[in-house]
């Protein structure tokens, strides 16, 4: 093997975009072997394993950080357009280099630690926040055969590691010695614990139907098409749709996005647990929040939107990993869209929404999924499961909400 051969493989690899990342990885491993032969040693297998791991880690972190940078400008653009503004358009073409400017600004800012703060904890908090956020993306299947760790308990892994961010938010809020911070931290924890239930429940439903906790297995279970064009994604079943929406809202709450941005609700708590953070530590929080958001939405794509499967059979010429990121981009867009529309919940309403609406609905979806599973996944199953989620939806909607709040029950008098 020589270097020219390796170079010659590059155009070959590029001919099949579907397997491009995998082949690329192999190429890098071969390159390492070639390097070993250059110094005259046989590269032991553990080095190759290590290189393999490093390549995957670097790729995932790089992709997610680039996505974070792009998202930070894209979000501002979409939000601006939804509000009939231009958004950032001064740095680079269409403001695309805005993240660079932001990054330089963040890095050069003074790092302020309050005098009364618990300095060690104040320092640790952003790290604790970032580490789980960067671990999360490893288990998502980005394409056919493209998963960093194919864990049999992948879904569980996700929620277990995700629990770390709660600790981080608590650390940040508590160590700042600021009333807004501590209130924000308390809100964050209450919110995350409450919404973890519907989140896990809706993931459990999928695991129930797919019969596995492995993300790859779940994506494979959604392969194929009904009638040759209708994808077998779980979101296109009644229970799956409900579970998907529940998962989506829980994911919003877990990643502290509007309308569940109570922990940092600026109209009440200034910036919540982030009030006393500045400079690079703030940037780390920001980064962790976005990477965590991508990860949890990636899980949503995996669980409900068919992962890397193409939506229509004739679209399979687009590589599977592209489909994953297209779906992720759509979800990211929808997050901004929601943010542009909705006001924030109040703390008690948020808790009520979690416990009185989302949790019962997730149970209903569970029953519905079971019915769908046993009724034979046909028209009958469809009907039964649709009824099983529709009735609780309208009932809960009425009893939790419409009964108390409606614009129609108000009367306004006019005097001439």
């Amino acid at each position: 093997m020589n270097f020219i051969d390796l170079l010659k493989r590059i155009p070959e690899i590029c001919k099949t975009p579907e397997t491009l990342p995998l082949e690329g990885k192999k190429l890098i491993l071969d390159f390492v072997t070639w390097l070993g032969s250059l110094v005259g040693i046989a590269v032991p297998p553990w080095v190759l394993t290590l290189v393999n791991i490093l390549v995957v880690i670097v790729a995932i972190i790089a992709v997610f950080l680039i996505m974070f940078a792009l998202m930070s400008v894209w979000e501002r653009k979409i939000l601006a357009r939804a509000q009939n503004r231009y958004g950032p358009n001064r740095v680079g073409p269409w403001g695309l280099f805005q993240p660079v400017a932001d990054g330089i600004k963040m890095l050069t800012k003074e790092d302020i630690v309050p005098r009364n703060a618990d300095k060690v904890v104040h320092f640790i908090a952003p790290i604790v926040m970032l580490v789980p956020a960067l671990i999360l993306p490893v288990l998502l299947p980005y394409g056919r055969g493209m998963v960093a760790i194919d864990l049999s308990v992948g879904i569980l892994f996700f929620f277990a590691v995700g629990a770390g961010s709660e600790v981080a938010i608590f650390l940040a809020g508590w160590s700042s010695r600021n009333k807004y911070s501590i209130l924000g931290a308390m809100r964050a924890i209450a919110q995350m614990i409450s919404y973890e239930l519907p989140l896990v429940m809706s993931a459990v439903i999928v695991a129930l139907v797919a019969g596995t906790l492995s993300p790859t297995g779940i994506v494979e279970a959604q392969g194929g098409y009904q009638f040759g064009f209708f994808p077998n994604w779980f979101v296109f079943t009644p229970w799956g749709f409900v579970a998907c929406v529940l998962f989506y809202f829980s994911a919003l709450a877990e990643s502290n996005r509007s309308p569940f941005d109570l922990p940092e609700g600026e109209s009440e708590l200034v910036a919540g647990h982030l009030t006393e953070y500045s400079g690079f530590k703030y940037a780390l929080f920001f980064m962790a929040e976005y990477v965590g958001m991508f990860a949890i939405n990636g899980l949503l794509v995996t669980l409900f939107l068919g992962g890397y499967q193409a939506p229509l059979p004739f679209l399979t010429f687009i590589p599977s990993w592209c489909w994953f990121f297209i779906k992720l981009a759509f979800l990211a867009f929808s997050l901004v869209w929601v943010r542009a529309t909705m006001p924030r919940f109040r703390i008690d309403q948020m808790m009520q929404f979690a416990w009185k609406f989302m949790l019962p609905m997730s149970f209903a979806a569970l029953f519905s999924a079971a019915a769908w599973h046993y009724a034979g996944r046909g028209l009958l199953g469809w009907g039964i499961s649709a009824v099983l989620v529709a009735i609780p939806y309208f009932a809960l909607g009425y009893f939790c909400f419409t009964r108390h709040h409606s614009a129609d029950n108000r009367r306004y008098l006019f005097s001439e």
Partner: protein
């Protein structure tokens, strides 16, 4: 130089997980010790969380991924948070209240130390006994095999052989939950 490099490469690196478990074990022990010894309650709780995490990592290193993740999910995600919440919501004044009758007793410290040591010893002995005399300790299970099986096996075990205890526990926990809610509500009224 070249020889040294080759020697380093030839070391049994792929056996690393065998002794890498020392790191989480050490972290766990240090966390537990700090949780007992630190003055600041919140720091104690945080160190306890750290030892929970290390324990979870230890489980995973042993190939018991399911247990490890459940450990993280339940203990870090919920129990540690509840402890922190409880500390924050407890009025600071009540902790320092000096109505402890044993406080003025002459040998209170010595007694406390002796009692603590006894309990610790008992726990240690029973744990060691459990480890050394249980039949599982002898059975050599290859870690790789253990990692694949668990979820399905645990599920089937829970819902077939131990269904009744599971349901009973569920009812008990539900009752406890409702009771706690009732108690909390009563207190608010008065």
């Amino acid at each position: 130089m070249h020889e040294l490099f080759q020697k380093i490469i030839a070391l049994p690196w792929d056996q690393a997980p065998q002794w890498l478990f020392l790191i989480p074990a050490f972290v766990m022990l240090m966390g537990a010790a700090a949780a007992v010894m630190l003055r600041n309650l919140i720091h104690c709780a945080l160190c306890l969380t750290l030892s929970f995490i290390a324990l979870g990592v230890l489980f995973m290193a042993l190939g018991a991924e399911f247990v490890g993740f459940v450990q993280l999910l339940v203990y870090v995600g919920a129990v540690a948070m509840l402890i922190l919440f409880a500390i924050l919501l407890t009025p600071a004044g009540e902790v320092a209240a000096s109505n402890n009758p044993l406080r003025n007793f002459k040998f209170s410290r010595a007694f406390a130390a002796a009692g603590g040591a006894t309990v610790a010893l008992l726990v240690l002995v029973s744990l060691l006994g459990a480890i050394f005399f249980s039949p599982h300790a002898r059975a050599v299970v290859p870690p790789a095999q253990a990692a694949i099986a668990p979820v399905k096996a645990i599920g089937e075990n829970l819902l077939n052989h131990t269904l009744l205890p599971l349901q009973a526990t569920a009812i008990l926990l539900t009752a406890a939950l409702i009771g706690a809610a009732l108690l909390a509500k009563e207190e608010k009224k008065s």
